[in-house]
Amino acid sequence: MVNETKYHNDLKKDAGIIVLVLGLLFFSETFVFYTVMSTLWDAVPEVRTLFPVYLLFLLLLLGIETIGCIRVYNSIKEHMYDFKYYE
């Protein structure tokens, strides 16, 4: 017999850790990106040409990682009872 409360609590712990590090990732990457771009914007003219490419890859990186994490959460939630993940 599966203890559903334990399973939900353990799933929340898994999700909590990922949300925490993902939040830290969003903060640090955008902070680093903004600081470097704003420092170089007026001093280095090439930055204006390259900026759209940099922004595109930053958005791709953060977007794909976030979608990937949501998929992992859904997968664990879907199969946790069948595979007895938290026994």
């Binding site: 898994d14 850790i17 990922i18 590090v21 993902l22 830290l24 990732l25 640090s28 990457e29 902070f31 680093v32 990106f33 600081t35 470097v36 420092t39 170089l40 001093a43 280095v44 090439e46 930055v47 390259l50 490419v53 940099y54 890859f57 930053l58 791709l60 990186l61 794909i64 990682e65 979608i67 990937g68 994490c69 949501i70 998929r71 992992v72 997968s75 664990i76 199969h79 946790m80 069948d82 595979f83 007895k84 993940y85």
Partner: protein, 456 residues
Amino acid sequence: MSENSNGVELVKTLRPYHVWALGVGIVLVGEYMGWNFTVAKGGILGSLFALLVAGTMYVMVSLCASELGSSTKLAGGPYDWARLFVGPGAAAIVGLAVYMEYIALEAADAIVVASIAQSIFPEIQTFPVTLLVIAALTFMNYRGVVAALNLNFALTFTALIAIIAFFFMNIGGIGGTWHPEYLISGAIPNGFIGVFAALQFGPWFYLGIEGAAMCAEECKHPTRAIPLGQQAGMITLLLGAGMTFYVCAGLIPTAELGVSVYPLFEAANQSGVKFLVAFLAVGTLFTCLASANGTVCDSSRSWFALSRDHFLTNWFAAVHTKYSTPYRAVIFTMPIAVAFAYSGFLDQVITFSITSGLVCYVMIPFSLIRFRKMFPEHTQKVRPFVGPLQPYLAYFTIFLAIVIMSTLNWGYSYNLIFGLLFYIIAYFYFSWRYRSIDAKHDWGEDLGWPEPAHRK
């Protein structure tokens, strides 16, 4: 799937944090050293470009590895995925590429540990220390995977906390003075070509994270542990990469940063904070040991898988009756790592490791494309974790891997040609060898799967 040579199975004890420790443990060394060669090629803008483009590629590689690893649950990782979904020749070159990628990395790590030891105790010789490090870590892996990965977790976590502490102390104003003028003076020294060429060292930020999925056969719940550990590992590396880049770019003049052996440690020195200097020194040492430890684990699994399927002599496929480790394959990592270490050319060893890694980053997504075609239905038995936006991400990954590989042409063209030639010869050799093997593969018997779509 073939039998282990002595009929003993690998023990299933690993949890998600072990997967994280294996993946991040191998790679975090890249944040402590090596990534800064991107600055030498393309300045600050080149390094940031490499960080973002290589980061995007690795996020996608790690999603492909999560799906393939949690589905197949086999020790060979990329080798087994190529064997099942592409073909024997491709499988053999991937197995060999993974082996070479990690062995070369192990040798590079051991050389660096010995160099650190020599900088502390100038009277000692580096080569004996290198041998000692390789021997000690081989013994650790011989004794058992859980002990080896628990050690990796402790080492890696300490090294990661050192980076995070450094970053937050710096932006909080108590971790040294950040100099915007360093960024401006070294923003783009070699023009747009330099920015593009910097991509060749971009993988160093994340090289080897796909190896986290290689302990799938030893996981208690691989369908949870692999995707969770792999994604947590990828986020950790992206965090570490951004933070490392920021503190180093603002604390070390660009000309010095591009050639620094230990950039993070040097940045800590520049900060003038004794606590950070000590913490980052410990982090540098720990991350090298963790990386070498993880690479012994992964390279031995790849060798074990090649041997189990008779690409090599089946003698290497034995599992230890007491420790449940592929002990012969583990021990055999030692002479090869020593041979790489003996050469002593760190950048050449690193470049061969990167080339081997890039061969894998073409083959892993290709294996996923084939997997999706052969087994299009998302059943719980076949595909418990379904990655997003596939197969489009797989195609994009192959494109980025080839683009990054092409940039090795600037400065390392002979390494690139030699590396590719090596794998082409290996492909034909193993394809020829496979014909002489009585290989039987039954999807139902080996994996409990239905027949693939094209055979129905």
